[in-house]
């Protein structure tokens, strides 16, 4: 039997540790945009099929110069803010009820399952009959879309709170409200906040549907109109606006998460 040989080995157990690479995303997007622009300038792609980034930027710039950019973004933000807030407050209320009381859950779960999959766009004529073609029907479209995922996120968030923590609170004779405020709410918060991320995107997606109802201004109305008029550069300009809005809302939610979940 040979003497075991000693050999120097480099540390290999680094795992797939991800280190932040600042700027990599920016470089990637810049390269992609440059290639896109080049493909159109060189004539590889017809501008009929895909407008150049420069054309999209020009469309945005013209919108800003005409002074309507603020109107579009402002009106859309107002609709999203109102619709999302109403949908979220109602969804949290119903979701909490479903999480805490047996009766609410017995009724709520099948009701949510039955009503959630209804396409909101199919309801537009009804919403118009009930609420008219002003702001209420547009806000209701967004609120309806936000309500159901929020309710689901809230009650499954509460379901996920460890039972033994609640039992401990009960053993120590904590008042009902204190258990709710100090154990259930913080425990359910991560799930609820994840739900917010989804509903914020849903609100943006439903903006186009909401602004189908006789909207003169708004990013959704702008995108719809550009599509009907085959103005593809403006269409993409509107899509860029939606993406930027999505990014901004996402950033705000990240901040909110860091602040609210600091206790973890």
């Amino acid at each position: 039997m040979a003497e075991p040989q000693m050999r120097e080995v480099a540390f290999r157990g680094g795992g797939f540790v991800l280190s932040p690479r600042r700027g990599a995303a920016a470089v990637f997007f810049a390269l992609l945009l440059a290639l896109w622009e080049l493909a159109i300038r060189a004539g590889w792609i017809s501008p009929l099929f895909l407008p150049a980034p420069s054309a999209v930027t020009t469309a945005l710039w013209e919108l800003a110069l005409a002074g309507t950019l603020g109107l579009h973004v402002g009106q859309s933000l107002a609709r999203i803010a109102a619709g999302w807030s109403i949908g979220t407050i109602a969804g949290l209320g119903v979701g909490f009820a479903m999480g805490i009381w047996s009766m609410s859950r017995a009724i709520g779960v099948p009701a949510v399952s039955a009503l959630f999959p209804i396409p909101k766009i199919a309801l537009l004529p009804l919403l118009i009959l009930w609420l008219g073609i002003g702001e209420p029907s547009k806000i209701a479209t967004i609120a309806l879309g936000v309500f159901f995922p929020t309710a689901i996120a809230a009650y499954s968030g509460i379901d996920g709170v460890p039972r033994n923590l609640i039992r401990m609170g009960q053993s120590f004779n904590l008042p009902w409200l204190a258990i709710l405020r100090k154990i259930v709410l913080p425990g359910a918060l991560p799930g609820i906040l994840a739900g917010f991320r989804i509903t914020a995107s849903i609100a943006l997606i439903l903006l186009v549907a909401a602004e189908m109802i006789g909207a003169q201004y708004g990013i959704g109305a702008f995108i719809l109109s550009a599509g009907n008029l085959m103005q593809t550069d403006q269409l993409l300009a509107g899509v860029v606006l939606l993406s930027v809005l999505g990014l901004a809302i996402g950033t705000v939610l990240s901040r909110l998460e860091r602040w609210l979940l600091g206790w973890r």
Binding site: P125, I128, G132, M212, G214, A221, N228
Partner: protein, 340 residues
């Protein structure tokens, strides 16, 4: 197993050769249309084999919105299409995507296609004539639509400012009719079937019809510039078949008596049954909204020029679009109203 496949393939090949002596030379084409009576000649030509007569093996592709057929021509999914002319169409055509070669339907006096209606509330407040349109709100699909152009022509006719009319864009007939029934708007532009329904429900009153007020070139037959450049004989053959079907349509549905009243022409019942089958709707319903279609697919060229100018004036079509470049008048003879 493989042997069987080869055998089956051979049988299939024999069957194809044996069954289609004519199809051997037939050139494959695809035609795009909406399931509307204004596309009537396409359905007639398909059903009665007029494309095949011209050596064309035509496949029909149906679309659900007027914006789709021109896009399908640009993408090469269809070779020909018929649809209503909108601002979006001219933006696409102006970029060299499609070229108009003939006429589809036309708004024409005596053919009730699109109605102007007033709600009962607006009627009670004195909105009883199309002259009173200024300052009213009206439900339309979108700006840049055929409805928008009709309103523009009406404004010119009665001398009111089209910008004083509030156009409520509701992106679809169901939403438009809901807004009208709920009294959210003063007026609506609505196709004949919907207009009759709204009237019989007592939701409003018909003030007039677009065709009676302002005749114009509502729709067109178009193809891609590539087809015109590279497959000219095929385009000519298609137009011949289209004209044959259009003239049958015209004779059956667009005949007028000495007093100018629309009457049933020859083969009316046969043609109505054919269209009813193609539309998958009862004949009585089809008969309500049969549009005027020129027998030879001739265009009101002056109106096309006027449409482009109107959209450019409204800022909806790019200033660089030239009406002349959008048209190819060499396939159909005798177009109307040519600008000097």
């Amino acid at each position: 197993m493989r042997k069987f496949h080869i055998f089956a393939g051979a049988v299939a090949a024999l069957a194809v050769i044996g069954l289609s002596p004519v199809a051997q030379a037939a050139e494959k084409i695809a035609v795009g249309a909406l399931r509307l009576t204004s596309s009537g000649p396409i359905f007639i030509a398909l059903e009665k084999g007029y494309f095949r007569e011209q050596g064309l093996d035509a496949e029909l592709k149906l679309f659900t919105a007027a914006t789709q057929p021109p896009l399908a021509v640009v993408s090469g999914d269809v070779d020909f299409a018929v649809t209503g002319l909108t601002a979006g169409f001219y933006n696409l055509a102006g970029k060299g995507g499609v070229k108009i070669i003939g006429a589809q339907s036309r708004e024409e006096s005596g053919f009730p296609l699109i109605a102007y209606m007033a709600t009962n509330q607006a009627w009670d407040k004195g909105f009883r004539s199309l002259k009173d349109f200024a300052g009213k709100s009206v439900a339309v699909t979108t700006t840049g639509s055929t409805f928008h152009y009709s309103l523009g022509l009406l404004a010119k006719k009665y001398g009111f400012d089209v910008n004083s009319v509030t156009m409520r864009q509701l992106n679809g007939l169901p939403a438009m009719q809901a807004a009208f029934k709920g009294g959210q708007v003063d007026a609506i532009l609505v196709p004949s079937v919907g207009a009759r329904a709204l009237e019989s429900e007592g939701a409003g009153k018909i003030l007039g019809w677009v065709g009676d007020e302002t005749p114009w070139q509502l729709g067109a037959l178009f193809t891609s510039p590539k087809n015109i450049a590279e497959r000219r004989p095929m385009v000519q053959a298609f137009v011949r078949a289209y004209q044959k079907a259009a003239s049958e349509y015209h004779k059956a549905f667009n005949a007028k008596d000495a007093a100018g009243k629309v009457v049933k022409g020859p083969n009316y019942d046969e043609m109505l049954a054919l269209l009813a089958k193609a539309m998958e709707q009862p004949p009585e319903r089809i008969a309500i909204g049969l549009p005027y279609i020129d027998a030879l697919g001739r265009l009101d060229v002056g109106d096309i020029y006027n449409q482009v100018a109107f959209w450019q004036g409204a800022g909806l079509v790019d200033k660089s679009v030239d009406a002349k470049a959008v048209l190819d008048l060499s396939f159909v003879e005798g177009h109307f109203n040519l600008p000097r």
